[in-house]
Symmetry: C2
Subunit: 147 residues, 2 copies
DNA sequence: TTACAACTTAAAGTCGACTTTAAGGCAAGA
DNA sequence: TCTTGCCTTAAAGTCGACTTTAAGTTGTAA
C-alpha cells in the first residue's frame, strides 16, 4: 500500500503538517511509523482524519474527539459513540442558538429604540432597565479563523 | 458626589476589580482619578460600564467597544454609533446562526443515519460523500466561561 | 506598634488549537 | 561536495479577555 508523507496527507485533508503532528502529540492520532525518522502513513489515516474533520465541523473540541476514539469500551460501535456525543453536542448548540437569539433581540431593540444623544445617557437607560447585571456570556465570535 | 473605590464599582456592575483595571489599561475606560494612589470613581463610570456590559452581552469584542466610544467624530450621537456597529454585528450573528444550523443538520444526519460498526468505516463514508474537504470553521463553543 | 484589609504595579499564566521558530537530519541531484 | 527540499524536535508565540501572582503601599483599628 502507498505510503504517504505527512505533507501529502496534510494536502489531501486540507490541514497543515503541523496540525497533524499536533494531533499525534495530544493523542488523537496514534504515532505514525517512521522511515529514517520521518512519518509514513497508509491511507487508513485519511479515514481517521475524515472523522476528526467531521467532528470539528460539528463543533467538537479535540478532547471530545479523543473521547470519541478512546472514551468507550473497545467493542462499542461507531454509531453508538456518535449517538452519545451528538446528543450532548446538540444540546449545547441549542443553548448557543438561544444565546444568539437573545443577543439579536437586544441588538434590534438597541437599533430601533435608542434615541440617545450620548453614550452616558444610554448607560443610564440600561441601568434603569436593569440590563447591566445580566451575566455576560462573552460568546466567542471569532473572526477570520480560516487559514 | 460619592466617590467609589474600584471594588465598589466592581461589585455594583458584577465584574472583578482586575477587569476594570484591565479596561483602563487597554483604553476603554479613561484613567480614573487617584486618591493617594488609589482609583476613585464617581457614579458616571457605572453608566460607562453599563454600556460596556450591554455591548459584551450583544457579542462585541473589546476593540469594537473602543470603536463605539472613540471611533466616531466627537459629535456623533450614541444612537448613530449603535446603528453602525449593530448592523455589522447582526450580520455576523446571522452568519454564525447559519453555521450552527449547518452543524445541527450534520449532527442529526450522523445520529439518524450512521450505522457504522467502526469509526474507520465512518471515515470512509465521509470521504465518499466528499465531506472531509469542507473547510472547518472551529466555532468556538466555549464551556464554563462564567466565573 | 503591629496587624490587617484593600489598594497599587508589572509580569506571567490561562484556555484551545494550532503555528512559528530555531536548530538540526537525511536523501537525491548537479 | 554542496545545495535543495522535505523532514524532525522542543519550545515559544498567537489570539481575546481576563486572572493570578509577587512585591510593595496606604489607611485604619486594636
Amino acid at each position: 500500500m502507498a505510503q504517504l508523507t505527512i505533507s501529502e496527507v496534510a494536502r489531501q485533508v486540507g490541514l497543515q503538517p503541523s496540525a497533524i503532528r499536533y494531533y499525534e502529540r495530544i493523542g488523537i492520532l496514534l504515532p505514525a511509523q517512521r522511515m529514517s525518522g520521518q512519518r509514513r502513513y497508509d491511507t487508513a489515516v485519511l479515514h481517521r482524519l475524515a472523522v476528526i474533520q467531521r467532528a470539528r465541523q460539528t463543533g467538537f473540541m479535540l478532547d471530545e474527539i479523543r473521547e470519541l476514539f478512546f472514551g468507550f469500551r473497545d467493542a462499542a460501535p461507531a454509531s453508538q459513540r456518535w449517538q452519545k456525543l451528538s446528543r450532548r453536542k446538540l444540546a449545547e448548540l441549542e443553548e448557543l442558538t438561544g444565546q444568539i437569539k437573545t443577543m439579536r433581540h437586544l441588538l434590534e431593540k438597541m437599533m430601533d429604540c435608542c434615541r440617545c444623544e450620548t453614550l452616558d445617557q444610554c448607560g443610564r437607560g440600561i441601568l434603569r432597565s436593569g440590563g447591566a447585571n445580566v451575566t455576560v456570556k462573552p460568546l466567542p465570535v471569532k473572526r477570520r479563523t480560516g487559514r
